[in-house]
Symmetry: C2
């Protein structure tokens, strides 16, 4: 039995007509003598609307209940897709996370898949053409409902593909992975192939193409992920072990709404650095672009998304309440721009080219990894910086 796992995102199942369109695509695929496991996201803006509703009933949201609430979105789209499929003669059944036995940790809103029991899905595939599985969600050993975080349906799909030893195809409203966001920069080029590591840097940089945990799982199990469009047959992109093209720089990603937090003239106590980052992690705050420089005193700078500013302020003021003589500043309105490429590992001069192309732009922070360079600039310089980098690296 040849199995393919397909995933359709929220915009692909946004209304009844789009669900019927997805059903037709699945029906076409089923004629190729394959069985399909189809992972679906919630319809269109359902998740956002449910979050809005939760904010209307409570000031402080209990995460367990938020997961109970949000998981209904995928159950709606999964059952509707199963109805639409049966209606056009494709035998199918929908399963939610507890039926599909997608076992996760108990970390509400950010659970990790521990284990996937495929016996039931395999048995159902013998009697059906397609099994529809609710993405984004899981269940703990105790029967608690969890979610995998925004975009988690990608991870559901890749984990199912790994467990079923199947191909994995991820469909959305964008026909593949681009050097930068094609909705903002129309000159963006489509990438034919990209390695797991490049993709990890891309998705953790806000390119918003794949849930980063899905890429980690694909890397671990060697699953090639195909990313294509729900609405066309245009060839998409492959995330795989080896980048066939291997250009020096594969892509560029842009993340707005960054706040830079700078602590300067702290006393030279490295325990303090650890304390600060521990505390911030404990609060569930994602910080980025961490730079630590010590000279006379200790200087720490990092970025957070603007909406978490008050959280971070609160956490820091508690840690630092007994300390004196230091400065702390918060500056918002920044954009993080990064270039990513596996070829950077073996190619010299990338950083130099990077800085040369940005020479007229004030850079606030820089961080680098083996395959990535990121810089922080004021939002007003964003377009200029992106244009310069796109030209320099032919993206």
């Amino acid at each position: 039995m040849k199995i393919i796992v397909q995933k359709y995102g929220g915009s692909s199942v946004a209304d009844a007509d789009k669900i019927k369109g997805v059903a037709k695509r699945i029906a076409k695929k089923c004629k190729e003598k394959v069985k399909l496991v189809v992972v679906v996201s919630a319809m269109g803006k359902t998740t956002d609307n449910l979050i809005k509703l939760s904010k209307e009933v409570a000031k402080k949201i209990i995460l367990r209940e938020l997961d109970m609430l949000l998981t209904t979105g995928e159950q709606v789209s999964a059952s509707l897709l199963a109805m639409a499929l049966n209606d056009i003669g494709i035998k199918s059944k929908s399963l939610n996370a507890f039926q599909a036995e997608i076992m996760t940790t108990g970390d509400y809103t950010q659970a990790r898949i521990k284990n996937l029991k495929t016996k039931k899905i395999k048995k159902l595939l013998e009697e059906n053409d397609a099994i529809i599985v609710t993405g984004f969600q899981g269940i703990t050993e105790e029967g608690e409902i969890t979610t995998l975080g925004r975009g988690g349906s990608d991870t559901s799909a890749v984990a199912l593909a790994a467990a079923l030893d199947a191909k994995c195809e991820i469909y959305s409203d964008v026909a593949g992975i681009y050097t930068t966001d094609p909705r903002i920069h129309p000159q963006a080029k489509k990438i034919k192939t990209i390695t797991y590591d490049e993709m990890l840097e891309m998705s953790s940089l806000g390119a918003k193409v794949l849930h980063s945990r899905s890429v980690e799982i694909a890397k671990k199990f060697g699953i090639t992920i195909y990313c294509g469009s729900t609405f066309s047959d245009e060839e998409g992109s492959y995330v795989m072990k080896k980048n066939i093209e291997e250009p020096v720089v594969t892509g560029l990603s842009v993340m707005d709404n960054q706040t830079q937090v700078t602590l300067s003239n702290l006393s030279l106590d490295y325990n303090l650095v650890q304390k600060i980052f521990n505390r911030v992690a404990k609060e569930g705050l994602n910080i980025d672009m961490i730079s630590v420089i010590s000279n006379e005193g200790l200087n720490i700078s990092f970025t957070i998304v603007e909406e978490k500013k008050s959280h971070v302020e609160k956490a820091l003021s508690q840690i630092l309440k007994d300390m004196k003589g230091f400065n702390i500043s918060y500056h918002s309105g920044f954009t993080k721009i990064s270039i990513v490429g596996i070829g950077m590992k073996s190619s010299s001069g990338v950083a130099s080219k990077f800085f040369k192309s940005l020479e007229s732009i004030p850079i606030k922070l820089v961080t680098t990894s083996e395959i990535k360079i990121s810089c922080l600039v004021e939002e007003k310089y964003k377009d200029k910086a992106v244009k310069a980098l796109v030209n320099t690296f032919e993206l």
Copy 2:
């Protein structure tokens, strides 16, 4: 530990403000040193909207998938109510049917509760003030999701009360049970107490107050059901073993959109009667007011709701395709009016008073039971008939 089971209907949790209102009512009750199990319906018109959506994706709806779809409605309201409660300091958790282990038969859209495991709920009640349970739904031994039929949340609540040996309170937008629908007939009187049997006749007659299965369970386990208003503290009605007042006629109920089907001059074959009703039952069509009269030939008349007319026509034309010499007619636009009262058992002359008060109105069909008389009239006579009966029986 004193436990009360409360149920709030769809109009009681129709929006964020109403959910917060219900949370406040629950908080007030919790101060009386009781633990609450709260059963909720889906918010407002959610179920209707989901059904509409299902009709947009498929012509023929798979009932299994319809149940998967509809059960999301209660999970949304249950999790939101749990959030609202925790937000005002009432410790609570929501449970869906698989978490609450509400085990049912596998009859999708009309499952019956087989068994309720209360161990988990009892344990959670030790650590919480209130446990919110999704109404209307259940789960089979195989992990399939089922629903109990429209209005089934009442049944969820009464079954939970029976299993937990608790009081049962059912709240809606109407402050109790009335002699007839107060939204249509403002002169309707509230009933203080009503017996299970009277209530069964009332709810199966379209009074739309309680799901009839809930009354059956209450009768079986001797659970008194209190029906009150979510929006006021006005005293409601009790459904219980003995009717304290025991008037002759307790209530009147009205059901519109009836079609009368009449078969006349059929050959005198009683197997045929059985065959007709078997076939109609097999199609899941509810027929009512069955009258069979034989003289020269066999005459059968019964009613169905108007929207099922084409279903019934199709079923009958198949059964009768080889028969000749009979007539079949379908007349729509009728209303069924019934009076109900446990006192009718022991009181003579009720039927005579009933017919006397309707003497100027053409009656198309009459059926009676020990505690009920129903008649079918053209819709244009409805108001006149209701007025006459309300006056005669002081309803």
